[in-house]
Symmetry: C2
Subunit: 348 residues, 2 copies
C-alpha cells in the first residue's frame, strides 16, 4: 500500500489532534518512526471508529489495489463518486445553496425596491420561511434564477467566494465551509492515496460548488459534476465572457446522476457514496460495475453533533435507499457510532 | 433548433465534398534515424522541423513551467484543449464519424429489409450520394439518429470499437485510427510531461470519440468533451443501462466550445489548438486568460501527404480563424513545412 508523505503527515497531525478530542476513544501517541516501520498501525481513517464501516472500506481498497488479487482494478478505472449535500457536508436545516440564494436576495434588494411588495422576494426580505416554501417550485426557481443567472460565470464565482468567506450557518454559527465531515475528508484522501480519482456528483449547482469546494475537498473543478443552468458565449468586443441564463440545463439528481456520470466521466465508478434517495441510482449504477465495487450510504443519526433524520425528512430523505442498502449488503455509516468527530473544528 | 441546423449543414456539406473525392496518395517512409538527426539533447518534438512553430511552443512551455518566471503557471491551471477532427487526426474527405454512420446503415440493413425501398436508407445502400443529399437535413438527422441512438451506451461503445478495428479510410486505405498526426501525439505527450492536463474539445460525438481515441491519444474518457445526444437511465430490473435517445443534447462547436469547456472543466485553458473556424471561439476564450496563453492553428497545406484546404473547404473551413491568428500573432502550423511526418506509420 502506498502512502504519500503528504498523507502520512496529515494522518500524523490528525492523530495528534485526537488526543485532545473529548469525543475520541483513547489513542496512544505514535511516533513517525513507529508509523513507518509498522504498517499495521498507520491509521488512514483516524476519525472513524474501528467498526464495520471502516473495516469494510479498508478491506475493499486493499483488495482492489492488490496486484495479486483477482479483484485488482487498474488505476484508470478507479473512479470514486461522492454526493455533496449530506455526504461531504451538512444539508440542514436546508441546502446551503438555498441560504446563499436568500442572502443574495437580501444583498440585491437595494437595487430592487419593488421586491418589498412582490412575492416571493417580500417573504425572503421578511425572513418568512413559511411563505417562501408556500411559493412552491415556481417561487423557488424564481429565487434561484434571480440569484444564479443574469451575470457572467466569473462574476458568479466571485459572488459565491465572497459569500462563503462571511456568511454564517443559522444554528451552527460558523461559515458553511467548516461544516464538512472530517471522516469523509479522510476517506477522500485515503482513496486518492490509493490512486482513485475522486469526483463530486451532486444535485447542487456545478458552478456554486466549484467556487467553494475545490480547496476544501482537494478536488479540481473538472472533477465536480452538478446541476446547471444554460450558459452562452459572448465575444463581448474582444473581452469574451460566459453568460449565465435563467433556464435549467441539467438536473444532476436521482436518474440524472448516472446520466451525469456517463456524460462527464464516461466510465462507471467502482466506488460511490451518498446519503439520500437522490443518490440511489448512482449507487445502483456503481453496483452494476463488473469490477468489484463499493457502495456507501451515510445515515444521519447524530442529533447532538449534527442532525438525525432519514425517511421523514424533506431534505436528504433516505427511505428506499436504506432498504436497498440493507437488502444488498451495502455499507451504511451510522454517523453517531461510526465517526469520532463530525467536523474538522472538533479536532481543535 | 438553430445550432442543430448549423451542424447538419456542416454534415451536409461534408457529404457533398465526399462524393467528389477520388484521390489516393503514396507516402514515403521516414526512418527514426532521420528524425532524431544530430541532436545532443532530448528532442520532445522529433517530428517537428526546427521552424518557428516548434520554437514558439517550446519557448512558451519552458516559460510557464519555470518557477522563476513571472509567467509561471501553477500545475492545476495548466489546462490544454485540443480540437479533434483536422487537429489531432484527419477529417477529409468527410468527418470519420460520418463514414461510421454510413457503414452502420449498411451493416444494419439485414434487419431492415424495408430500407431497400425507403429513403434515405435506400440511397445509402446504393451509395447514391445525390439522393442522400436531396433528403436534406431531415434525412441526415434520420441517418444519424438511426445509427447513434436506440441502443445503450455500452452497445454503442462496442459497435464503434468493432468498426474502428476493421473499417478502412476510402482513399488512404488504412484504419481511421492510423490517421492521427504524429507531431500532435508528440505535442500532447510533451505538454503532459510538463504537467499540463490535456483535453479534447471537439464537435464530434463524445461517446464516439471516447470509444476510439483514449488509447490513441492517451487521454482518459473524463477529459474528452464533445457533442452529445440525450440519454436516460433505465434501472432495467436490476441491470441498469444508459439508453441513447434520438434527440440532440449539446453541440460542442463554435460558441459551444467555450460553453463546453466552462461546463466540463470549469477553468479557462492556457493552451488551445484547432484547425478551423469552428475552433475560433475556443482560441478566443483561451486568449482571454489573464495567465500567459498559447493559441495554435493547424493549417492544412500538404496535398501530397495529407490534404490542402482552408477557406474554400466545406470540411474544416479556415477563414476568419487564420485572419485573426495573423492579426493576433497566434502560432500557425504549416503542415507541409513544419512537420517531418504526418502519420505514425510513416515512421516505420
Amino acid at each position: 500500500m502506498r502512502t504519500s508523505l503528504k498523507t502520512f503527515s496529515l494522518v500524523l497531525l490528525a492523530l495528534c489532534f485526537f488526543i485532545s478530542c473529548k469525543e475520541s476513544t483513547t489513542i496512544e501517541p505514535v511516533s513517525p518512526n513507529q508509523l513507518s516501520s509498522d504498517e499495521q498501525i498507520i491509521d488512514h481513517l483516524p476519525s472513524w471508529n474501528d467498526s464495520e464501516a471502516k473495516k469494510n472500506i479498508i478491506a475493499y481498497v486493499e483488495d482492489v489495489t492488490d496486484r495479486n488479487s483477482v479483484n485488482y482494478v487498474e488505476v484508470q478505472d478507479r473512479i470514486a463518486t461522492f454526493d455533496n449535500d449530506g455526504t461531504l457536508w451538512s444539508e440542514q436545516p436546508a441546502y446551503f445553496q438555498l441560504f446563499f440564494a436568500l442572502d443574495r436576495i437580501k444583498a440585491m434588494a437595494g437595487e430592487h425596491p419593488e421586491w418589498k411588495n412582490k412575492q416571493p422576494y417580500k417573504a425572503v426580505l421578511e425572513d418568512d420561511m413559511e411563505t417562501i416554501m408556500a411559493s412552491g417550485n415556481q417561487g423557488l426557481i424564481q429565487l434561484i434564477m434571480t440569484t444564479h443567472a443574469g451575470m457572467t460565470s466569473e462574476e458568479f464565482d466571485e459572488t459565491v467566494k465572497n459569500w462563503i468567506k462571511t456568511a454564517k450557518h443559522p444554528t451552527k454559527n460558523v461559515t458553511y465551509d467548516q461544516l464538512v465531515y472530517q471522516p469523509m475528508l479522510e476517506l477522500l484522501e485515503y482513496l486518492r492515496a490509493n490512486n482513485f480519482k475522486t469526483f463530486i456528483v451532486s444535485g447542487g449547482g456545478i458552478e456554486f460548488m466549484r467556487a467553494i469546494v475545490q480547496e476544501v475537498y482537494k478536488i479540481p473543478s473538472e472533477q465536480i459534476i452538478g446541476s446547471s443552468i444554460k450558459t452562452e458565449f459572448d465575444y463581448n468586443n474582444g473581452n469574451p465572457v460566459i453568460k449565465r441564463l435563467p433556464e435549467l440545463d441539467f438536473i444532476d439528481d436521482k436518474e440524472g446522476k448516472p446520466v451525469g456520470i456517463n456524460k462527464f466521466i464516461g466510465k462507471k465508478p467502482i466506488f460511490a457514496a451518498g446519503n439520500s434517495d437522490g443518490d440511489l441510482q448512482m449507487l445502483q449504477w456503481t453496483a452494476s460495475n463488473s469490477k468489484k465495487n463499493f457502495e456507501l450510504y451515510i445515515h444521519h443519526t447524530d442529533e447532538i453533533r449534527e442532525w438525525a433524520y432519514d425517511k421523514e425528512s424533506h431534505v436528504g430523505k433516505l427511505d428506499k435507499g436504506i432498504a436497498e442498502a440493507n437488502e444488498k449488503g451495502w455499507t451504511i455509516v451510522d454517523m453517531k457510532n461510526d465517526w469520532k468527530v463530525i467536523y474538522p473544528f472538533e479536532l481543535k
